[in-house]
């Protein structure tokens, strides 16, 4: 595969599975990195079984999550437990600049694919292991997903209402943070190798990466000895700051005033200019103190209006507001369209499918979705023949030996 793009010279052998690892390398695929994603022919990637499923079909190709995390990659199915697989994998290691994996810490050693083994065949290899808790420590073998890491890292307890048990964050929250740090670590290690010729091993504990998104709360505790509490949608220094009902089933609008002048504009939009003078609401300080009454006033105004209409009316006056979008609304949102967020591509089994586009826009070397995520083993032949240069005879032998399942 002749690649282009700013990362065209980067080759990654990707054993990572489910979400956190694959989402990290997906970011690099958008910019042209060549990525060979290895799947087990026997043990399905959990992501293939997760929502959302195209046309509500539960088949192994129809997970939007899998297809989103693996777009742009080549896919091979290799049984790592098969004794004949090892030579194939080591040839791929010789080809690769970077090897990534997200098994629990024992697995790569069991297959003889730990960092020391890889370094023997490719001395300057960069290897990144990513798992919930890292390669060491009493919890290193915990199997699991990002919802568990989000709980243990402190996120889940901080989402919800102060008068109720925690609602928790949606889904596998640390799996949304760790991928950025995976990509950053890989790019940094490549830069180090370029300058020094030296490869290295990177131990990523997803919990440790993710806690960086809670640092202010950590400091509130470590500096002020104050245990941070969940606070609904309120902000300590801003009011209004909330989610208000709009007309229709489960329709909501977010409204925030960061300044007194935004508050006056909001009053103006509500046709309640006199309220701007109401001493209960006149300054940020009094609005914060009278938050509940304030929310009642605003909620009464919003409840009979459409969320889109409220958003447009308020934004026209410079007041931060947005409808709380579900997928259908985001899909129709003109700003998402302008940013190319939803990308339609051809998929071998699905016909056309949709994935998210690159999030960052680079002016001279933009990212793009180069191909759909692989069906299981889609690129076996291509990778063996074109990347590894195997003869047809060799490929047939490996097939008969069960290397590809």
């Amino acid at each position: 595969m002749n690649s282009d793009g700013p990362l065209a010279d980067v080759k990654i052998l990707d054993f990572a599975w489910v979400m956190a690892g694959p989402a990290g390398t997906r970011m690099l695929a958008d910019y042209g990195a060549q990525i060979v994603r290895v799947e087990s022919p026997h043990r399905i990637d959990t992501a293939r079984t997760l929502q959302p499923h195209q046309d509500s079909n539960f088949g192994a190709d129809s997970s939007g999550l899998f297809n989103n995390c693996n777009a742009g990659k080549l896919g091979v199915a290799i049984d790592l437990g098969n004794p004949c697989a090892r030579e194939v994998v080591l040839d791929l290691v010789r080809w690769a600049d970077v090897v990534t994996e997200s098994f629990s810490p024992r697995a790569m050693r069991k297959w003889g694919l730990d960092y020391d083994s890889l370094r023997r065949v490719r001395p300057d290899i960069i290897m990144l292991s990513t798992c919930l808790f890292g390669q060491t420590g009493p919890l290193r073998q915990i199997a699991g997903f990002g919802n568990m890491a989000a709980a243990i890292a402190g996120f889940s307890n901080l989402a919800g209402w102060p008068d109720r048990a925690a609602t928790g964050v949606f889904g596998a929250y640390t799996d949304y943070i760790a991928p950025r740090y995976t990509a950053i670590a890989i790019l940094a290690a490549l830069e180090h190798r370029r300058r020094t010729g030296e490869g290295q091993y990177i131990d990523q504990a997803q919990v440790e990466s993710a806690i960086h998104f809670l640092t202010p709360a950590i400091l509130e505790y470590s500096v002020n000895r104050h245990e941070p509490q969940r606070a609904g949608n309120t902000d300590r220094d801003m009011a209004p700051h909330g989610i208000y009902p709009a007309a229709g089933d489960d329709q909501w609008v977010a409204i925030v005033c960061r300044t007194d002048s935004q508050w006056r504009s909001l009053c103006d939009a509500m046709g309640a200019a006199a309220m701007a003078l109401d001493p209960r609401f006149a300054t940020m300080e009094t609005r914060v103190a009278n938050r509940a009454q304030l929310d009642d006033v605003i909620g009464t105004w919003t409840a009979t209006r459409g969320a889109t209409e409220i958003e447009q009316t308020l934004q026209a006056r410079g007041v931060p507001a947005y409808q709380v979008q579900n997928s259908a609304q985001a899909w129709r949102d003109p700003q998402f369209a302008h940013r190319g967020h939803f990308v339609e591509i051809e998929h071998q089994a699905l016909g056309r499918t949709t994935v998210e586009g690159p999030r960052a826009h680079l002016s001279r070397t933009p990212g793009r979705v180069r191909r759909a995520a692989p069906s299981l083993g889609r690129d076996n032949q291509y990778v063996m023949e074109k990347i590894l240069g195997y003869s047809q005879e060799r490929i047939s032998e490996l097939t008969i030996a069960g290397v590809f399942g």
């Binding site: 700013p6 079984t49 699991g144 989000a150 790019l187 290690a189 470590s222």
Partner: protein
Amino acid sequence: MPILESRRVLDLSNERGLLCGQILADLGADVIAVEPPGGSSARRIGPFAADVRDPERSLLWWSYSRNKRSITLNLERPEGRDLLRRLAAAADFLIESFEPGFMAGRRLAYDDLAAANPSLVYVSISGFGQTGPKAHYADADLILLAAGGPLILGGDDDRPPVRLSVPQAYLHASADAAVAALVAHHERVRSGRGQHADIAAVQSVAIATQSAILAAPLRTTELRRLAGGLKLGPLNLPVIWPAKDGFISMTFLFGSALGVFTRKLMHYLCEQGYCDEATRDKDWIGYAEMLLSGREPLSEFERVKGIVCNFTRAHTKAELLNLALERGFLMAPVATIGEVTRSEQLASRRYWRSIEDPAGGAEYIVPGPFVKFSATPIEYWRRPPKVGEHNREIYCGELGLSDAEFSNLVRGGVI
């Protein structure tokens, strides 16, 4: 040798972008926070150390400014803009997070600065991106979470959707910005040319929908929020479960991958006397489809969840974590921040680091390196700077201003 050693970053970002510069600083870059006189607007955001409102005590600033130096510079003054142009001519990266159009209005946009320094990587972080029909929308964390899709998925079903109580949107954007900066840098090493990276927080937060934002184009059911879990059509799927002394997060799901764990858990519950064998032996792989097709009544699923709940409620968070470790169950305690800081796991990995308090107090504890590099470990060598702490060092020592020029700029309110 630090990875980005001798790479100069001008970090003009405010509360929207501090993390991006800190990531580059952790990788060894020379990151200079360029603040307006009086200090960054981020320094006015709480909480504050000892709850004293003071620009040197903002814990947000402390959180995302280590390993940086600070200068002040007034971009509203022509002399200030000239100084920035001089600094940018020798910089490798520039990060800004003003409203779109702010830099262009001062002739400091990418094109303006790239003319003198074609290899500059210029990173813009904003709510909605630099262009487009909503580029000039007013933003806030809650607004971006609403727009980008994650908000509608979280919360109790009888109340409005609810956010995480620590602002997240611009952290997602800043982390994406750091990736973009490094991609552009990687390419620059070959081509010698920089470029403009435009990051929109509204897209960055969409990752927190876990691809649920694709439900409509994929023609499938939208997920709905549920206290401590989520709803898929008629199914209420809890994630947060009660323990004896708090709550745990547990994956209790079905299908060919996750159903295996549920089967394992149900076998244990049967062994422990929580359920009968018929319950244990349900088809946990195909269970979601059975429920959705009506072959298994929802009331039966409710009964099963009740059994699981009886089990979790009978154990402490620590006991359940031990079971997860010993038996491979998918559960973990819901921890408070205090509990996070006392985690044995993090302690055993020597995760926490201490940093000198810029307000002159004691050292304080911060999260450690985001990954462990074997050859180039991340070091925290510099506490967050005070406002303009490095003015003289940088303007005189590095940019070569004379003492007289420097004093004039200070008197003129430029620095």
